[in-house]
Amino acid sequence: MAQALLRAEGICKSFAGVQALKSVSLEIAPGEIHCLAGENGCGKSTLIKIISGVYQPDSGFIEFAGKKYGKIAPRDAIASGIQVIYQDFSIFPNLTVMENLAFNSELADGRKFVNRARMQKIAEEAILKIDFRVDLDRTVGTLSVAEKQMVAISRALMFNAKLIIMDEPTTALTKKEVQALFKIILRLKEQGIAILFVSHKLNEVFEISERFTIFRSGELVVTGNTADLDKKKFSYYMTGREFEDKAFVPKNVSERPVLEARNLGLRGSFEGVSFELRKGEILGITGLLDSGRTELALSLFGARAADEGELLKDGKRLRLRMPQDAIRNRIGYVPEDRLSEGLFLPRTIADNVVIAEIDRLATGIGIIRRKKRHEEIRRWVKELSIATPNPDNACSTLSGGNQQRVVLAKWLSCNPDVLVLNGPTVGVDIGSKHDIHGILQKLANDGMAIVIISDDLPEVLENCSRLMVLKAGRMVAELDPAKTDEREVLSYML
């Protein structure tokens, strides 16, 4: 094999008793596109921080471009050619594109005074490298997520980068933007720059990477060529478990629809959406990020009131102005952004589970019935197998998958007739993903009506009994998951 660009050997790192990395290794060739995958907490972020000098390894060494080093400072890592693009892009939303681009190099050069002409030149050169067209005087906060990422990439290229590490770069991108990103990655590869791509999305691993490495619980599980990988092996490496994917077969569908949408519309987001939903069904709604699917979900829950059309529940017309209206009508919503919309992370698991139904656990004037509350919490922790030693621990102590279970528990405790889930398994480890799908299927067969809104096509094809495709705010297809495949669905989406 040709001289490796990056070689990490036997890296160990622990944080006061907790072993984050157990003698892991990684090898990347120059110009290689390498994907590092693993569930949350497997140690991939820790390794990245060690490579870029933010942390120091307890043992092991890193060899970069022929130079071997045990400990390194972030500044030296940058000087050697290692660039990290974090998930938040490390930008200043209140400053202009020009300043965002130029600051790093000005600071690296030790400049004390601002010279706009010089900074302008630096910024113009930077965006040229990836052919990024943008007005340099725009405030970065007004740019789209993809544009912000371009700014981050342009900035990363300013320092003769040989290796660019991207941490979960596609999280907030539309499918088109993901394609654009991949094109840029290929361009960078042509220029001889290696890319280390952190992701847990299987389709991305397949599409863009040449080699891959999978971590689990701080250990190296496997490393190899992507060509040798398939879906089943991927799941197995990631979780250590084998999964049988069960497609959803509705067994208990009610006669009359529990939810009916007639020509639902929200100006600027979607229009003319009509569908019927029966108990025992799982309806999938899919579309690109900007197809209006999130707005539709929000209006089914009252978080954003629809301004056209009507929504009927059990035949009765609903006026959903705020979430309380939906909850009162037994509609629950599991949001897309679990961390800021779904959970109160610093609060206890117990508090999180009961908060949506707290009024029901109290007397008329609001005094909480403590015994009832206690029982309720015990019940849901057990039913959803939330892995915690103590429900009075903070929610932030849970893994992503368990946090999602808490969100589910919160809504199930309200005993909804309809449960709308937006991106239910985003950022959830494969094991929990499988479990959550199982829970949803069981709930449907027990008589709940479920709506899954997701752009994870395998997820919707497997778990839904009906699939609706949205494009640019309009329904363009209604399909039977059993009789269609990803390519057909994609063709409607794009």
Binding site: L95, A108, K112, T142, D290
Partner: protein
């Protein structure tokens, strides 16, 4: 030209300027006395101390914090300087007092800077504590009392005029104090720091996203520390100016000003969360409050109504700003959606 107008309309400062102008015109209509040389000089003279304070408060707010200790800091510095010079029977000019006061200010500012910059503790709480500490030190350890007489150098400085403005009709005169130059000097230095040095851009960067600032290579600790030292220095200068202009040392005179100063800064379009705002807007907002406070008589309103007016101004000003922000957010979201539709 169209681009200029569009750019102007997106910024806050033109609106505040218009409001200020309208207010002045209103007062002029009511009294015929606003745009007179003596009144304008009076207003500017009254704006010196709040203006310098506002510059310091502005910088801290832009960096993402809130400083409530600057009046106590200024009082302590000014008191210590005055009493020191009185005890040593100082007969010289103004430069030594300025040097001493600013020196004390740097020290006290460093106190703030140590805990907020180096330890990274939240600014509001630290300055709450340091405000108490400075006050307690001044009133307790230094046993502060009023001085009816201050060193002659300071007194002369306070009384000497830059020029005298005369109202041709009424014959009323107003003295533009030399300390106004101190105000201008502070403004110029602050402008230079904030716009033309990486230190100043660093303050904006930290206010925008502190973690990104650290990753970009800004020394967040050193920048914050330096900023608080600077704020301490100019606040102390303001305190000294106040003493000179009053020709008396009244140790608790300035205490309690912090909230109104912060209100002025925010009225000028500075976001309380940090990262945004301009020196121009800050000055406009401060001058707005100074005008309201000083023009009650001209409006024919008894001075007892002063607080009511200022309070109403703050509520309306921040209310309008909040409504603007909410509308901008909604427009932003729907604009994005509309744009995406077109692109498809």
């Amino acid at each position: 030209m169209q681009k200029v107008i569009k750019k102007l309309s997106r910024r806050n400062e033109p609106y505040i300027f218009v409001v200020l102008l309208l207010l002045c015109v209103l007062i002029e209509i009511r009294s015929g006395q606003f745009f007179t040389p003596n009144n304008l000089v009076d207003i500017l003279s009254a704006a010196v101390v709040p203006g310098i304070f506002a510059v310091g408060a502005f910088m801290v707010i832009v960096s993402g914090g809130i400083d409530v200790s600057f009046p106590a800091l200024a009082s302590l510095s000014a008191y210590a300087t005055t009493s020191l010079l009185l005890e040593s029977n100082y007969q010289g000019g103004i430069w030594l007092p300025i040097l001493i006061a600013v020196g004390f200010g740097a020290l006290l500012g460093a106190f703030n800077g140590l805990f907020i910059g180096h330890f990274g503790l939240p600014a509001l709480i630290v300055t709450l504590g340091s405000s108490s500490v400075f006050k307690g030190f001044m009133q307790g350890t230094l046993n502060s009392r009023q001085f009816a007489v201050i060193p002659p150098g300071m007194k002369n400085f306070g009384l000497s005029p830059l020029f005298i403005a005369t109202n041709p009709q009424s014959g009323l005169t107003a003295r533009m104090p030399v300390s106004f130059l101190a105000f201008l000097a502070v403004l110029i230095v602050a402008y230079f720091l904030l716009q033309r040095t990486m230190f100043g851009r660093g303050i904006y960067a930290i206010g925008g996203n502190e973690v990104s600032a650290h990753r970009a290579g800004f020394s967040v600790r050193r920048t914050k520390f330096g900023m608080y030292v600077f704020v301490g220095m100019i606040s102390s200068l303001a305190g000294l100016m106040r003493t000179c202009m009053m020709t008396q040392m009244h140790p608790t005179n300035m205490l309690g000003m912090e909230m109104n100063i912060i209100a002025g800064v925010v009225l000028g379009g500075t976001a309380i969360t940090g990262g945004a705002g301009s020196l121009t807007g800050c000055m406009l907002g401060t001058v707005l409050i100074v005008v309201v406070e000083n023009s009650m008589i001209l409006l024919g309103v008894p001075t007892v109504w002063k607080s009511v007016f200022v309070g109403a101004l703050i509520i309306v000003g921040t209310g309008v700003s909040a409504v603007q922000v909410a509308r901008a957010n909604r427009v932003h979201v729907s604009k994005k959606a509309a744009l995406k539709e077109v692109r498809q």
